[in-house]
Symmetry: C2
Subunit: 628 residues, 2 copies
Amino acid sequence: MSFPEANILEVDLSQKAIRKKVLDGDTHRLYPGGSSLGTYILLKEMDPNVDPFSQENILVFSVSPFTGLPIAGANRITVNTKSPLTGGIADSQAGGFFPAYLKGNGWNSIVIKGKSDHPVYIYIDGDKVELRDATNMWGKVTGESERLIKDDLNEDSIDMAQIGPAGENLVRFANIINMNNRANGRNGTGAVMGSKNLKAIVVKKRLGLEPVDRHNFMVLAREGLEKFKNSRGLQLFGEHGTDRGLINHHKNGFLATRNWKSGYFPEGAENITGTTMTRTILKKRDTCYGCPIRCKRVVEIEGKVDPLYGGPEYETCAAFGSYCGVTSLETVAMANQLCNMYGLDTISCGGTIAFAMECYENGLLTKEDTHGIELKFGNGEGLLAIIEKIAKREGIGGLLAEGSYRAAMKIGKGAEKYSITAKKQELPAHMPQYKPSLGLIYAVNPFGADHMSSDHDTVLTLPPESDARKNLALLGIRKGYDDSFELDDEKVRFAFNTQCFESAIDSLSLCQFVWGTSALYGPNDLVLLARYGIGWETSIYELMEIGERKINMMRYFNAREGFTKEDDVLPERLFEPFKDGPSKGRALDREKYENAKKLYYEIAGWDEKNGNPTFGTLKKLSLGWLIS
Amino acid sequence: MSFPEANILEVDLSQKAIRKKVLDGDTHRLYPGGSSLGTYILLKEMDPNVDPFSQENILVFSVSPFTGLPIAGANRITVNTKSPLTGGIADSQAGGFFPAYLKGNGWNSIVIKGKSDHPVYIYIDGDKVELRDATNMWGKVTGESERLIKDDLNEDSIDMAQIGPAGENLVRFANIINMNNRANGRNGTGAVMGSKNLKAIVVKKRLGLEPVDRHNFMVLAREGLEKFKNSRGLQLFGEHGTDRGLINHHKNGFLATRNWKSGYFPEGAENITGTTMTRTILKKRDTCYGCPIRCKRVVEIEGKVDPLYGGPEYETCAAFGSYCGVTSLETVAMANQLCNMYGLDTISCGGTIAFAMECYENGLLTKEDTHGIELKFGNGEGLLAIIEKIAKREGIGGLLAEGSYRAAMKIGKGAEKYSITAKKQELPAHMPQYKPSLGLIYAVNPFGADHMSSDHDTVLTLPPESDARKNLALLGIRKGYDDSFELDDEKVRFAFNTQCFESAIDSLSLCQFVWGTSALYGPNDLVLLARYGIGWETSIYELMEIGERKINMMRYFNAREGFTKEDDVLPERLFEPFKDGPSKGRALDREKYENAKKLYYEIAGWDEKNGNPTFGTLKKLSLGWLIS
């Protein structure tokens, strides 16, 4: 069979027009879903240099031909738009059940154009698509507006991706929430949705994508279940969630602490690590559609934290915990709940507040600026108060709603050295001093510092006979490493090759915890998923090319926006040696890092001057249409 | 399991030293056999700028971990050295049974260094390796020396790769022959063997490489047999051999005729095409180890052609037939026999004589030069006489033994325009005017014009649901083409991607008629062969990288020898419109060709100025050791 067509739902909010478009299978195969399909649509449909908050910006939700298949991890959705935080391409993934339902209604992408003159939501029931008034829901937190929308439709069997008040208020790191606790978190996509007066996209609950070869597909699905049952590592991951590893980061001296000044958090790490959460506030574990792992946390604290809003991930525990010097898991859980209610990215929110705390401690912000809040590291109550102010853009919240980079520019007085950002976006909680190849990716990744855009160097310390190392060999990475933390040539290859692979995973709307080199299913299984799931005969070669194509489309998008290699930089702080803890004295090596970046450009086929794809690289990836 | 080690037999003829070396599995995996292993050894062991005929040149025979497995097409051997014809890397493949026997004796490579002070041959019986006197065999044609060697060893159960008198006489296109009729044909490797006073490498007949997963391996082997039985195309290929397609080339107007002046050979094409051979002089069909296709010809003409010397391939029929305007299949078969007796590459031999014929017809060579031979196109007797003179370097044979390029330089008077060569090597019989992407490969291929270094554009006219097109999609080639013969961007991608893939096939010592995109087994089967045959978990991605790595090692070898983009050129004649036949008016488009070459360099990651691998490209392919 040929590759499936993509059904694209285009909603023009200015014109109140709803259109169905179809992308032919041959083209769709080049941009098969998720971020690849989203970026393709943006490059085709949008002019460069538009204001992210203008009606000319376009917001795209995309799934893939795999989405909704009855197997673990085939259930993610990506949002792409021009980011109000970075000014470049925005890319953000979420799981849940919403992606499967959207696909169950027959759609691969939803393309939002224009701007409504009043708050609206979109209701999708198969081919029946409605624009409905959302004035009642505007200003409401996610849990409330979900209830209001169910009432409005008089329908309970629905799911939705929505923004909270932070998106409405154009907080530059506002996110998009589904199930009240799953987030398309990064890059401020929720603010773009808010700028369009779009409160929610609501879908009827529909499932039932049938694999083309049901027998072999079910064999693959069962093998995954068996593997899960027999894998202690995956079991532990499910048991304690993504936050399970926090304590180890601390022990190694690489848990980002007090706005990245330290990698060592003895006063709090034990309190906020995953096993502690399991032992204390965890109420239950939750899942995305079709997944046995159940890595999602649901926590409850009587009178303070409602299970409706899920529970904190590792990134959230670090961002509100160690970044801010906060030692209370209860506070972290409350901060997480606020973010899920208001629709805020926890990483950028925690990173921005940690920045503000350091400014405060150094006198760049005063008690006058903070309305009396003693905004020092470790002040949990102050943290919670500031989150609300950010979401509502009240007082200092208005400043911090711009993100730490823009806030620093406004504060002046050298505050920019406290903004721990790449492409103006706050860094996630994996320290490049520990994972130097990931640091390289933080710098060059087109949508800013991201911890899911390549594999982490630490995998290379596993023995060659481990599954992860065998899977990496399929991607051309054969060499292992010691614990020297050095950024050598082979690590640059590792960074690029695994970036291409994870980019393919994202382009197929798959979950990286289930599909990957260190996951439940490996690269060869992915070829089987394609064959049995949708009748697509593919190869790891084609998949790597899909991933590389997407990265290059994103770089090209950014190049149109004026990005150069000056935007591929890391914060100065990473090059300054730690002063305490087991990693004392450790820092990124400037020379090695610069050499690595140069080599990365060469390997990627990007020009040395600006780090943008060359003519030949675009042609090689069937992207000649961008320049002809 | 880990990748197998390579056992390397090093024979230093100057020192009369025989050494066993072992290449560890991790390194071997990067250079798994055939031309990749051979080129690796040359780059490690040899200095640049040595005289090809000096004792500093090294001659390497290599097979792969697959060689000798009981399956079709896993039985090829590659010879690499510095070519006396091109001055760059030499690369030449052969089949037969010799490769399987060599491997059966436990060896992956034989590395010949130095120069013997008298004629010798090497006898390999497992770990027992002897240098034996070959004075008796020196000067003898292949069939005779084979008998003499069997007598000398008093052993019949042996096989050998040997040179004929042409190799001894340093004819720059002398080859290496096994079974008296299989040739490592191109690049003059036989002359290097001759320069070392090495007559033959003789191996005891040993087989028996066991697949690691015998059950699944035999399933794969049986599937191949079934596919062969059910494929009319492969059956016809076996029935009529490689020469089956000659008549179609003529009908399309692209059978290189009279030294490439025309693509149209009405007076002779029907006589020399494969089906005519089957109907007339074919005595039987022969095979390589383990192969059901039996594409090899064995012909017999009472008193003139002995079945011992096999029969002509397509390339030979074109080179001695249409290139030279010779219309007699008998003459072609006799010419083929002479080449197999004397050890001459039929393509360069036919191409050089066609060159001489055109010189003669244009008065650049006279009857005085040719010792009375009327060396006009169509003179079959003259052709046969000249072959003998070349092998013996008698009279004009001494001039032509240098190949047409060097002969033209000596003749002067504009003779170089009649030398139809790339990198000083005569072009094989696939016209770039018909297959423009192959023409690009002719120009850029590191070992000169070669028709087996990429797929042929014509495959792209097949429907998308054909096996070939589905296999190409696994290599990232999705677009089909019409018959417009244009060299557009997508064809450059096709050229590069399939070049990498065929380079991998050569690097694994596999037969391209059995393993490939249009062969008995496709790319996915190759992954299974690796898994079941030797326990190697690989991917098409890793295989493509192996192929690309080898090409870049070869370009690097050539760069050390001073090659630049000025060496990546095609003969002027290809840009001049045909004057007759169905292809009248057709020529390569200069501008498109130059643009394509530029794009090819960019896609390959080679610098624009010299077409050599950049720093980043070498590092990307784990070849940083070449420059550090």
